[in-house]
């Protein structure tokens, strides 16, 4: 130790600085890692990175403690013979043995019934590779975390505006004047969101947060609107109602850029009832939305083909076509729908005074209307019309899981997308902006197979494992209309489950419904803890055996970097590297880190060698792909094509000669091309020299109105971001949903739902958004369970994986249940007391904390702070397990059985989005016992071989030189 005041950082030791990309969360900031004598001295935000511009977050700055955590797995492990799953009893094995085990097992499955291999991945960001592997293997049973995360957000918006929040788009806070944030605590876009909000506030914008809880971002909102959980749909519908009633919508925008003026067939006897009337215009077939619909021209007072030059279509009214067909513009249908959704009605549901709802609508509408932005940027629309300027209405929204994680979220988010559309804020300055590769056609092109015949032994899957159904015939069901996928995605139960339903995989596999699988490979997901609902039961299922004493889920492989709760349930454990030790890509084929102004992708380049025997999962997949001779990984002779993952990334093309690969930057022999071009042997080098990021800035005239921007759409087509350069009109009225409804009503010729699902499809596939109570709430005795229970992400912790971090866990060591003090008064308990929180599914004992910053009908806690005893290399008595708790024990992955005894997933009936925030609870005082600990408790598990399990009393990290402890 030297005395400070010498002013200079001690530069002794060998100092190196390397750029890479953070992965302490999915935000993926650019970081600069400084090493001293080969150890991490510090990690800082890379000032030259477009995403985070030099800032870093609490997690990112704690990367040192992640890298050197004692919870690191360092050797491949095999469950000890005779040990139960969950015991965490392993012996270490060599990689050779691990590969041999997997090869034998997987080759056999692939040669017989590939769907018996299921690959599900959690908070990863390499779906380009994992998805490719699954497809090549031939299994449909693949998905990432999206289904339990925020698929409602993706689907609700993409099926409406062709893009979405999440990684695909966001609020343009540089230019917005009013910013409304709903149900967001931390978001995927952590650092950029923080940068943007602060700037927005400094520029004098008004920030409104709609959230039952006031923490984090909501804390600095100019106005906080507490709302009852699960009721945003009602609020948004009422806002739409008031906006239209006052004439505050952007008529030109709605007319030109949405299907609001398109005429809907209202002839009930017609099989096209509720569909748009088609005009006879020659239309090229494709997965876009063809322009063969009609408007009602107010000048000529007759129907004309949409976007006919010089016509002024009506948005409201009722008309009759020449053949007598009654029609209405879909906007009129929206108006009709919204009639009952008055602010007074919404007040009763949301708890927000009608006056406030009206005022909000007026603030939004008047700001949008009167503070128009006009940028001197000329552009041409897809219909060929030149525009002198880009205009925008400066009202921006952002929403995340507070809307998404409810079983009525899809329709709430549709209502939000429509509100944004009415205000004229889609891909315009000051509103919502897309990020490449969005916008995409509604729905996007990718489709899953529609029949089990797509699955054949030793053959890649014929189609994508995940896709975007446009009509019932796109569903992935068998001849009996039954699900083909283990998670029942794309079945009649959850037709638009575009991200799968990972939260049901274990339960379904355990039950053998729709069939039994053999091997479950879980990568980077803690399914024995926080990414499972009904966690206690799921843990039992993972270890459950049939009459013959065989595991119901025969084989479980887990690839993790840490000793998580899930690892304990594995038969085979693959120790992954950390983000500082591996190559990675943030690919345009997955979810890149694009900016509003153009595509951005990024890479990770190791700054440290792997610890112990750790091996990047990417390398495992390349190795396995080669061993199993999956076509993408071997040449015609069956010889391995790629040396390793970096080699794969450099040379892989989606199709031979396609010029499309994992990375978009510096393609072509000498790196002179982008997006598309031959493999460049020096591509990694070029990323390395450029802060590990490739940022293509679109010409200004391509940066806005991209759904209809000729320049952009053609650019995207040329660079193969999309196949079609067709307009992407906003679906205020969703024909896709109506199509499903018609099928449910038996009015179509294609696939139709089984009878017991007809009613459900008919109800929830409403072409216009509507409000209903979340499904679980509908099945709950609300007198008995009057409170909503939700979780939030703390900014300084990532899911369950940061308790192994000695610095971060000091900030969140355990969690309380936050609630209004009125609950304590009613229940006779005090701040800090132990309470029971009970849902219809079970109960959890925890400590309460009173708060004035929570809607009184809601209780909440930080997500996944509580841990199972002994996991994460924590001492068995660590506060995480003794005082912390996991709310997931109270949340069921399935709804109560319906009349026929059938149990649906606890999910949105349209998208299969997990209904995390629908659970209803009651809270009551826990009688005092001597040694109070949270309940349920689980038997402590011991460290695994290869884990540094010395229990240090204290430590003092000093990079490179002397060590404490």
């Amino acid at each position: 130790m030297t005395a400070p005041g010498k002013d200079q950082e001690d530069r002794s030791g060998r100092i190196e600085t390397k750029n890479t990309t953070c992965y302490m969360c999915a935000c993926r900031c650019g970081i600069r890692v400084t090493l001293r004598d080969g150890e991490v001295r510090y990690i800082e935000g890379n000032p030259d990175h477009p995403l985070n511009k030099g800032v870093i977050c609490a997690k990112g700055a704690s990367g040192i403690m992640k890298q050197y955590s004692p919870a690191r797995l360092t050797q491949p492990l095999k469950r000890k013979a005779g040990a139960e799953r969950g015991d965490n009893a392993f012996e270490s094995i060599s990689w050779d043995e691990a590969f041999a085990i997997m090869e034998k097992r997987l080759a056999k499955i692939r040669g017989t019934d590939p769907k018996k291999f299921a690959l599900f991945t959690g908070r990863d960001q390499m779906q380009a590779l994992t998805g490719l592997f699954a497809k090549q293997f031939g299994t449909p049973n693949y998905a990432a975390h999206g289904g339990f995360c925020s698929v409602n957000m993706a689907a609700g918006m993409i099926y409406t505006i062709g893009g979405s929040f999440w990684e695909f788009g966001g609020p343009d806070l540089d230019r917005a004047k009013l910013f409304v944030m709903l149900g967001t605590a931390e978001d995927h876009h952590s650092n950029p969101m923080k940068i943007a909000i602060a700037k927005f506030k400094r520029n004098g914008g008004k920030f409104i947060s709609i959230n039952p809880v006031r923490t984090g971002y909501s804390a600095i909102a100019d106005e906080w609107i507490p709302i009852r959980p699960g009721t945003d749909g009602a609020l948004l519908l009422a806002l739409n109602n008031e906006i239209i009633k006052q004439g505050l919508y952007d008529r030109d925008f709605v007319v030109q850029y949405s299907n609001g003026a398109e005429l809907v067939n209202l002839d009930e006897k017609n099989s096209e009832f509720g569909m748009f009337v088609r005009a006879e215009v020659p239309i090229e077939e494709g997965c876009f939305d063809p322009e063969n619909k009609l408007w009602w021209d107010r000048n000529q007072n007759k129907a004309v083909v949409t976007h006919t030059a010089g016509c002024d279509p009506r948005l409201m009214g009722e008309f009759e076509l020449e053949d007598g067909t009654p029609v209405k513009p879909s906007f009129q249908m929206l108006v009709d729908r919204l009639k009952e959704y008055t602010p007074e009605w919404a007040e009763g549901i949301t708890g927000i005074p009608a006056e406030t709802i009206r005022r909000l609508a007026h603030e939004m509408g008047v700001t949008a209307r009167d503070q128009k932005i006009e940028l001197p940027i000329a552009w041409t629309d897809i219909w060929g019309k030149d525009h002198e300027t880009i205009t925008g209405n400066p009202v921006a929204f952002h929403a995340m899981r507070g809307l998404a994680a409810h079983s009525n979220g899809f329709h709430s988010i549709r209502a939000l997308s429509i509100l944004m559309t009415l205000l004229g804020t889609i891909d315009r300055p000051g509103g919502f902006r897309h990020k490449a590769p969005f916008p995409r056609p509604i729905p996007p092109c990718a489709k899953t197979p529609d029949h089990p015949s797509a699955i054949q032994p030793n053959t890649p899957l014929d189609g994508m494992a995940l896709g975007w159904p446009a009509e019932p015939d796109d569903l992935f069901v068998d001849d009996d209309n039954k699900p083909v996928r283990i998670d029942k995605a794309f079945s009649w139960e959850y037709p638009l489950s575009v991200h799968g339903l990972m939260h049901n995989v274990i339960t379904n596999a355990w039950r053998g419904d729709p069939y039994k699988i053999d091997t479950l490979l879980i990568f980077m997901a803690n399914m024995a803890w926080n990414s499972s609902m009904n966690t206690s039961e799921v843990r039992k299922m993972l270890n459950d055996k049939d009459e013959n004493g065989e595991f119901k889920i025969p084989y479980i492989i887990v690839c993790d970097a840490f000793q998580s709760e899930m690892v304990a349930y594995a038969d085979l454990v693959l120790p992954d590297t950390t983000y500082l030790e591996r190559h990675d890509v943030m690919s345009m084929l997955d979810r890149p880190i694009s900016e509003f102004d153009g595509p951005v992708d990024a890479v990770r380049i190791p700054v440290l060698p792997p610890t112990g025997e750790c091996k990047p999962f990417q390398e495992v997949l390349i190795e396995m792909g080669s061993r199993l001779k999956l076509p993408a990984f071997v040449d015609k002779e069956g010889v391995r094509k790629f040396r390793d993952y970096p080699d794969f990334v450099t040379n892989y093309e989606t199709e031979p000669g396609s010029g499309i690969g994992f990375l978009a930057g510096w393609r072509g022999k000498g790196g002179e091309k982008f997006m598309r071009g031959e493999p460049n042997p020096n591509q990694w080098k070029m990323y390395e020299e450029n802060n590990c990021v490739y940022h293509y800035e679109l010409p200004k005239s391509f940066q806005y109105m991209r759904n209809w921007n000729k320049g952009y759409l053609e650019w995207a087509q040329r660079h193969r971001l999309t196949r079609y350069a067709e307009p992407i009109n906003i679906h205020i009225y969703s024909e896709v949903l109506q199509h499903f409804r018609l099928a449910a009503q038996g009015k179509t010729t294609g696939k139709q739902p089984p009878d017991h699902l007809r009613k459900r499809i008919e109800t929830y596939f409403d072409p216009l958004p509507f409000y209903y109570e979340p499904l679980e709430v509908q099945t709950t005795d609300k007198n008995k369970y009057p409170l909503s229970a939700v979780t939030q992400r703390p900014m300084a912790m990532y899911h369950s994986w940061d308790s192994q971090n000695a610095w971060l866990r000091q900030i969140h060591t355990y969690n309380h249940l936050y609630m209004s003090p009125t609950l304590g008064k009613q229940g006779g308990f005090n701040d800090g007391d132990w309470v029971w929180v009970e849902s219809q599914w079970g109960k959890v004992k925890c400590m309460c904390r009173f708060s004035e910053a929570v809607e009184p009908g809601t209780v909440w806690t930080w997500n996944a702070i509580g841990k199972a005893s002994g996991a994460w290399s924590l001492e068995p008595k660590a506060d995480e397990s003794r005082k912390g708790f996991l709310l997931n024990h109270l949340i069921s992955e399935e709804l109560p059985a319906d009349a026929s005894g059938f149990r649906f997933s606890n999910s949105d009936p349209v998208t299969g989005q997990a209904g995390w925030y629908d659970v209803r609870v009651r809270v009551y005082k826990a009688e005092k016992k001597g040694d109070d600990v949270s309940l349920p408790q689980f038997d402590a598990i011991a460290p695994v071989p290869g884990q540094q399990n010395k229990r240090v009393k204290w430590q003092a990290y000093f990079a490179g030189r002397k060590k404490g402890a």
Binding site: Q810, I811, H812, T813, Y814, H816, R849, S851, E852, A853, D879
Partner: protein, 325 residues
């Protein structure tokens, strides 16, 4: 504040030492003035020794408070501004003075050695003792001021802190002197006992005064000024860390509520009531045992008193550390 036992022992032990020295020196002065029978050197030597033992024990205890005792010497450097530094200088001076004083008695040294003849047997020790008295009082002042000068701790920031500390040190020292006298100078017992009672009762008065004062204290800082937000209802939701920090360990007593509430009565009884009753009994006869019991009781009481002194002090920094969340 968190009561640190090293500091409790430091302050109580040196208090006894200082008080004891002052007691025997007072006895000597009285003797010189013929108000009391003069005593043998033995009494003064033993008394000084005993005082030194207490002082050195206190000094040793203080080292336990330091993270780096090997650097303790550095702490004498800031006497211009720091009462702690001053204490660090004065404490050895007191030890030195008492040591010399004791040596003078041990060797029977007189001023005649230096060519002066005062006709007094103990002229040299009288002069040195008066110097010792000065530094001893200075030490009381320094030690007291270490606490009293911290304006943020309003319970301490009062002359009463110095006065109480001085009186309690004196009381315990005089009481120990009485016990010592019971063996070596029975004639002085009565004298010491009376003074002990007087000082103890004065201490009681000033200690109660400080209790009353402290009970009436209005904190100068509150959450409004601490975070700069003017609002009647502010509550901390999180202090930023959950497993505690230096700020939650050093500035909170951490004892159960009932303990804190009762300790005040405990020390009032042990420091004041019991000793006064016991020594009143001892007044007539030279009850060594009673006096020792009284001293021990009072000393235990003083430890409780110091504990309470710390625990009661409410540091404004605590405003920032109220809620784990």
């Amino acid at each position: 504040m968190h009561p640190a036992f090293s500091v409790i022992f430091l302050t109580t032990l040196i208090g006894v030492g200082q008080g004891l020295f002052l007691a025997i020196y007072t006895g000597e002065v009285y003797g010189t003035l013929d108000l009391l029978p003069a005593q043998s050197h033995n009494f003064y030597v033993t008394g000084s020794m005993l005082a030194l033992i207490f002082l050195v024990a206190g000094l040793v205890a203080s080292f336990f408070h330091l993270g780096h005792p090997e650097r303790a010497w550095r702490s004498a450097s800031q006497w211009r501004t720091s009462w702690l530094s001053r204490e660090v200088i004065v404490l050895p001076a007191v030890i030195g003075a008492i040591l010399v004083y004791g040596l003078v008695h041990l060797l029977g040294l007189k001023l005649t050695l230096f060519g002066f003849n005062t006709g007094l047997d103990n002229d040299l020790s009288l002069i040195l003792g008066s110097g010792g008295t000065l530094v001893t009082f200075l030490l009381f002042l320094c030690t007291g001021m270490i606490y009293a000068c911290i304006k943020f701790l309003k319970e301490w920031a009062s002359p009463l802190t110095v006065i109480n500390y001085t009186l309690l040190g004196l009381a315990s020292g005089f009481l120990l002197a009485a016990a010592l006298a019971a063996i070596l100078a029975p004639a002085l017992v009565q004298f010491y006992v009376v003074w002990t009672i007087i000082i103890t009762i004065s201490g009681l008065v000033t200690r109660i005064a400080s209790l009353v004062r402290n009970a009436r204290l209005k904190p100068q800082s509150n959450l409004k000024t601490a975070i700069g937000i003017r609002h009647g209802k502010i509550q901390q939701r999180s202090q930023g860390q959950m497993g505690g920090s230096f700020n939650t360990r050093e500035f909170f007593h951490g004892a159960p509520d009932w303990f804190f509430r009762n300790i005040k009565w405990v020390f009032l009884v042990l420091v004041f009531v019991v000793p006064v009753i016991l020594i009143s009994l001892a007044m007539g006869n030279s009850g060594f045992l009673i006096l020792v019991v009284a001293f021990v009781t009072q000393y235990i009481g003083l430890i409780a008193e110091r504990w309470f002194f710390f625990a009661q002090a409410n540091h404004p920094q605590n405003l920032y550390y109220q809620t784990v969340g």
